[in-house]
């Protein structure tokens, strides 16, 4: 068994399986949304393939990262708007 990977979402530590996307880590950490829309509504991934931009979040300090296309790495820090 490959070892699980420790990441943090909005300060919440979560262990994820290798290959898990940052988008999935957000849900696994107990958050329903990745970003707040321009009118403040919660939004979560729609397309799952990097075209809709609904999964945007701050990943390791980089804003507007498409979390559905980023694979979790040890120590990754993810912050969502909606938290």
């Amino acid at each position: 068994m490959p070892e699980n990977i420790a990441v943090k979402v909005n300060g919440v530590a979560v262990l994820v399986a290798p290959g898990t996307s940052a988008a999935a880590a957000v849900i696994l950490a107990g958050f329903a949304a990745c970003r707040a829309s321009v009118t403040g509504a919660p939004r979560a991934p729609l397309c799952g393939m990097g075209i809709c931009f609904e999964c945007r979040a701050l990943v390791n300090g980089v804003a507007h990262t498409r979390t559905c296309q980023v694979t979790c790495q040890p120590g990754m820090v993810i912050s969502t708007d909606a938290a």
């Binding site: 994820v16 399986a17 290959g19 898990t20 996307s21 988008a23 999935a24 880590a25 849900i27 696994l28 329903a32 949304a33 829309s37 321009v38 009118t39 509504a41 919660p42 939004r43 979560a44 991934p45 729609l46 397309c47 799952g48 393939m49 990097g50 075209i51 809709c52 931009f53 609904e54 945007r56 980089v62 507007h64 559905c68 296309q69 980023v70 694979t71 979790c72």
Partner: protein, 419 residues
């Protein structure tokens, strides 16, 4: 100076068509490269899995650049890409576009709630670790993808509450009768049916509203017996596929009916630029593989090898035509959104602000509809269908995706011809 990569044959997209093209080309050419924006090869359909074709690519001479996004053609056999926020310039002699397709999403009240996803979209997310076991899922939309997705999710422990196919029952029966063209698909379909036994299935059915506060809690489905409410944790909706033609359009390839026009060698209207798979016509994985191989052989100068695949391609094109006929979208789907339903999710533009305008361009300029980060990839095709909007020149603008300033600066150092 940005990093530069040179090759004779460059392929954009490493799904079924791109993998097939790369493997075919690499049989005869030692300078083949393929790039793709996802973390690993496979495209959408083989995401997160290992299979013999992906293994074949790994064993081939082709170089694979994953996590690398095509940003803008620069003319003169080069284009700009971006990896980890840094620019990369690719130089090539022959270019094969295998950019695949995305799902068509149609707006209806509640479709912006977290938990409402694409059908293929939910499958892709589950393949990347999204937990689905024990979740109640409704799958809605159209096409064989719905059943494939529902099967995949049920195998991973999801409770499929309903599958709603918008096409009429007679169209599904006709589709079933046409499957003799593809015997492999019959076996696959029987497997799906076995896994999905006991799941409520509807034809002539579609979502009319998703309910919930901060995430979806239930969906109201229109069925032949009237509207029915289904509680759910996820609502996966796919109304067919939209070809990703933006890069081809930006490069200057001619489009025909929204698809990239190609000749028998998969050659586009631009010399040295080929195209394979969904951008030339929606037809699924088998068609993509055959077209990819033809393009790969043709680009490597082995027309003899390419020609041997023409008969297979003809059969698969006939199957594409059946798909298109059987799963045509019904008129009712044009009117799911209400005046206050958001149509452009990036800029939160409600339908009423879009319908004030006669064209997509006007809606973009005056209502910001399609001006957000996705650059109209979601609302554009939806509004084309709902309002009959079309943009003859395509809506693609450089850069194809939002990029870092470093990448933008690299584009300015080069002399663009089509930009």
């Amino acid at each position: 100076m940005p990093r530069e990569e040179r090759c004779r044959i460059l392929i954009v997209g490493v799904g079924p068509a791109g993998i097939a093209a790369a493997c075919a080309a690499a049989e005869f050419d030692d300078s083949v490269a393929v790039l793709d924006d996802n973390p690993a090869p496979g495209g959408q359909i083989w995401r997160g899995e290992e299979n013999p074709r992906i293994a074949q690519l790994r064993d081939s001479r082709a170089r694979v650049f994953s996590g690398t996004r095509a940003i803008a053609p620069l003319g003169g056999g080069s284009f700009l890409a971006e990896k980890d926020g840094e620019p990369v310039l690719f130089h090539y002699e022959k270019l094969i576009l295998a950019t695949g397709a995305r799902e068509l999403f149609l707006p209806f009240p509640g479709w912006t709630l977290p938990g409402v996803t694409g059908a293929g979209g939910l499958q892709a997310m589950v393949q990347c670790g999204l937990p689905i076991a024990g979740k109640r899922v409704v799958v809605a939309g159209t096409g064989p993808l719905l059943v494939a997705v529902a099967t995949h999710l049920r195998e991973r422990g999801a409770m499929i509450e309903a599958i709603a196919e918008q096409a009429p029952r007679r169209c599904l029966l006709r589709f079933g009768a046409e499957l003799w063209r593809a015997p492999g698909k019959i076996v696959q379909a029987l497997g799906f049916e076995w896994t999905l036994r006991g799941v409520p299935r509807f034809t002539d059915a579609w979502p009319i509203a998703a309910h919930g506060e901060n995430c979806v809690k239930a969906v109201l489905l229109e069925t032949r017996r009237g509207a029915r409410l289904f509680p759910c944790d996820d609502l996966a909706c796919g109304f067919g596929l939209v070809p990703n033609v933006e890069l081809a359009a930006l490069a200057g390839c001619e489009l025909h009916g929204g698809f990239v026009a190609v000749d028998e060698w998969q050659q586009t209207s631009l010399d040295g630029v080929l195209c394979a798979g969904e951008p030339t016509g929606i037809g699924g994985v088998d068609r993509s593989i055959v077209e990819g191989r033809i393009a790969g052989y043709a680009a490597a100068g082995r027309r003899d090898r390419a020609r041997k695949l023409f008969a297979a391609r003809r059969r698969l094109h006939a199957f594409s035509a059946v798909l298109t006929r059987c799963f045509a979208l019904r008129d009712e789907l044009r009117h799911l959104a209400r005046a206050d339903t958001i149509v452009c999710r990036c800029e939160d533009v409600p339908l009423r602000n879009a319908t004030e305008h006669p064209t997509a361009r006007s809606a973009r300029l005056h209502a910001r509809c399609g001006m957000g980060a996705c650059q109209g990839r979601v609302c554009g095709p939806a509004l084309d269908f709902m309002l009959g909007w079309t943009e003859p020149a395509g809506r693609a603008r450089p850069p194809l995706y939002p990029v870092s300033m470093a990448t933008l600066a690299a584009a300015c150092e080069e002399e663009p011809t089509h930009v």
